[in-house]
Amino acid sequence: MAERSFAKEVELLRLTAGEEFRGEGILAVTKALLQSGVAYVAGYQGAPVSHLMDVLADAGEILDELGVHFESSASEATAAATLAASINYPLRGAVTWKSTVGTNVASDALGNLASAGVKGGALVILGEDYGEGSSIMQERTHAFAMKSQLWLLDPKPRLDSIVTAVQQGFELSEASNTPVMLMLRIRACHLYGSFIASDNRRPPFTAADALEAPQRDASRIILPPYTYEQEREKTEQRWPAAVRFIRENKINELIDGPESELGIVLQGGLYNGVLRALEHLGLADAFGGSRLPLYVLNATYPLVEEEFVQFATGKRALLIVEEGQPEHIEQAAHQFLRRADLQTRVLGKGPFPMAGEYTGSVLREGIRAFIEEHSPRLLNPVVEQPLLPAAQLASAVPERPSGLCTGCPERPLFSSLKLLQKEIGPVHVSADIGCHSFASLEPFHLGASILGYGLGSAAASALHSRGDRRPVSIMGDGGFWHNGLTSGIGNAVFNEHDGVTIIVDNGYAAATGGQWVPSSEADAPRRTARLSIADAVRGVGVRWVRSLNTYDMKGTLRILREAMSTREKGPKVIVAQGECQLNRQRRIRPLLDRLRKAGKRVARKHYGVDAETCTGDHSCIRLSGCPSLTVKPNPDPLRRAPVAAVDHDCVGCGVCGEVAHAAILCPSFYHAELVDNPGAIERLMQQLRRRMIGFLQSRNQRKRALAW
């Protein structure tokens, strides 16, 4: 069960022919898979494809009815390897992950798969997270397609186009015995729209059939003499077959326009953006009618040379709209036109920036620059709206980086690490990917490098001296099961590392939306969870292993100190436990509400700061950074700095109090314990107390009053 429940979305998967599907792009893909008679689906979660995994994880029933096998793979490599089932059997399979990071992890399996070739359609659905908001390095999947001879679809960002692309992807894959990658930009994945559904199809051939009559074909093995054979097959048979299929099925669109001396070649995924930009320049309408001819590449690899040449013929200049770098399509275009000896100018990077997302304004300005150079008469003078505020606001509007949620169990861990540094001086922290990556931002400033998922420990490998300083590596439970156990911990044992690795065990793959991991504590339907990270670590030979509850900062600090100073040789592994608060709240809130309604006694804590004693130094905030620990204007007319305050989102995790104690901060923190439906005796005691204390208080008050 993920952060979000997909019960409602699951129903969308049951839609039958003629009904209208209304929902997210990535869910449309999921429906399309079932409509294409897919036999198995696997993948690894990550924005923007998490929802595909999440909804299928909640759709067990439907999958059973259709006889579709689904699994949440241990990693993208596992997912890619899963496609091996389509090498020998006519099984349609689909896998999914976040690109390009996931593709990097999967590339070993992908390369071998591409070389062996497939019998059943093999589809790799990639969520491309490219752009300013992206949490991964900026790369193109296109290069993978080129190096491994995988085909790459980049459909128009409309639900119906995406659904068609899924269907055609399988067909293309079968027609050319090659795995096909279907790439969706992040906004397309989260695009809400609609399409007309068709019936789901049971896979005609299933895993069971395969196991009844196992097949093998030596020529699919990656060994000489077959490897060279496969390489030749790629170029001599599969490639031409793919090009033929793309041309015959008109996967790429040639849209005619009156201004035939110019033309625009674009990736399908950028279609809507380009059309909007043209509309702004007065060269297109709201329905896709364009004055400039367009060549829409719904398949960006392989390119169809004939179509390209045909489109370019008789044109003075072509504009290639291709996001990211290197500009593979533009380079290919030059090659095609040269071979055809066409003198058409080709522009791409130049009018467009080499790097960065093609946002609305980038597209508009790029296209305008192109037209201004080659056919200025087409442009009517534009009236620019003055964008005055930008300058004025530059200083006024503060950055708002992502951070750990309210009550996050990772916060006290990093606060403790900060306190540890106050004691023993700065340490080298090798960070990892996950929510804990945020520790590298304000207010913690922990983490010198992030090398990849589960690689936090591995990334500290070279930093092991025989001296007494030790590097600290962070690793999430997600990254740990993904590969950290071997690449990090196993490696550290084998090479007798002396460093400290902290495994953040919050019970979920939290950053990607709270999916299960093998060490998840709650019941995971159709999964075997509750595996112990500590046991796994001991299993690969770590002798110094400690588990701790991150909310207990005293204990955490003690264990951190020990880890940094112990004489014990070999890697020190700390399993830092604390359930992801986001998921915890989702789990317990309804529970508590029910109890409250049932009149049961329910106690909860709410933290607070006494404005009268807070002096507005905010060291508590610098140590914790909890979103609900904020500031408000100082009520003391003599003071200027705003005072700390706890807002209403406080979940009572207690970290601010712990911090105040552990760092010996100040006496301003308090917590109030609120009890709903208290018992009779409890109420009586309370009244007595109120009376007595109230009496004493009023006496003091009178004294004070008398003095004034």
Binding site: G133, Q392, C666
Partner: protein, 513 residues
Amino acid sequence: MRVRHDTKVFKLAIAALGGQGGGVLTQWLLDAAEASGFIAQATSVPGVAQRTGATLYYLEFFPRAAAEEAGGDPVLALMPQPGDVDLVVASELMEAGRAMQRGLVTRDRTTLVASTHRVFTIGEKSALGDGLADSDTVLQVARATAKRLVALDMEALALKHRSVISSVVLGALAGAGALPFSAEACEQAIRASGRALERNFAAFEAGKARAEAAAGGDAAVASPDSASLYDPVPVPRNLKAKALMERVSKEFPGTCADLLGIGVHRLVDYQNHRYAGLYLDRLRSILGLDSPARQYTLLLETARGLALWMSYEDTARVADLKTRAARFARVNAEVGAGDGRLMRIVDYLSPRVEEICGSLPAWLGSPLMRWGFTRRIVQAFTGGRKISTDRLWGYLLMRAMARTRAWRPSSLRHREEDARIREWLATLAELAPQDYELAVEMAACQQLVKGYGETFERGLSRYRAISEALPALQTGSDPASAVRELRDAALVDEEGRKFEATLARLCENRPAA
């Protein structure tokens, strides 16, 4: 192909914070739009932004009728274009600013519906002093930039109706008539979602009403509750207090009366009348150095700082404040106790050897501090303590601590603070005649000496560093602004990197004397 220039796309951008429920709001808008005969599309970029970061949702609506009439399928964009948005919704003030920065709000067409409340960024909150961004600038720019601005504190309304901000936002949109469809359609969308209906509707209605009222202009001012804990100084009835207040009005200029009044009241409450008298005596010496021509800047700054310094936070003070009835009431209000709910207050105290010895009489405190073994004994009483202040024993314990105020004047801490205060006043008295501005800046430096434990040590050491650097700085061209610069630098980072750098620079820049 014929190009038709009759676009009827309605473009809407929602600038929000991750976790604010922008997804829910988007779904409501989509449902309402589709029910009202629009083809609706929405995109967002979740992922890490969902973890408290700034995020943007973008929606486009196209009249289904117009599409059918034209016999075409509209191509809707996935990203907003600067200068091409009809409606921008910001569920927090600075996010409105960010949207304007992106050029999404333009005079010719954009309605901006923004909540005026602030969710402070970690950068703002981390400052050692006041690091808050300037809300007024953003509001001014909004007024100047938007075709129409509807601004109100949506968070407050959400809290009032124990609902989520999304319902208030939707209400505000309906109320402002900023949507191409009816308020009923919005209500229907909420009903269809079927979650926490009563509260959501209440919040929706509240937002709607406020927006209707505010329609055209902007309503609330963008400042969180700044209600003062301290009512204006009440009229004294106690003779000694009366006498003190008379001194204030007789001996000091009227423009300073209020502030000095607060100071006197604070110190009577903190210790006693004699102590408050001392406060006025000390200020008189400063008054002699000041003049109406200078609007008594030095006197005012000193009066403010002196009141705070003389009422330094010690164990007795903290315990006293925490045991007052008013404080219990405030906590009750803050955590929403009452209505049949029991409450219990637990205070987090962590006295250090310094605090404990400091609160003891000097003759006892200082030797205890000095000798290792006695220090170790005291050590036993330090460390984190959780005290249930509204339980009898907890209360009595706290009161006992508060009682130590009786011997405060002879306590070790008092001796130390008193010495510092004298030194500070002497410096001011010495500086004022030769460099008034510098004296004012030094007076303001008191604000560095605040807080508890490490914070206090840090502030004090930086204050000391500045005082020690004075002779050096005075040989410089503009010592006053040098001190101001140092004071600001002292509040930049905990480690004091900025402060050290600034100090080094300012001290070497001076001409060799």
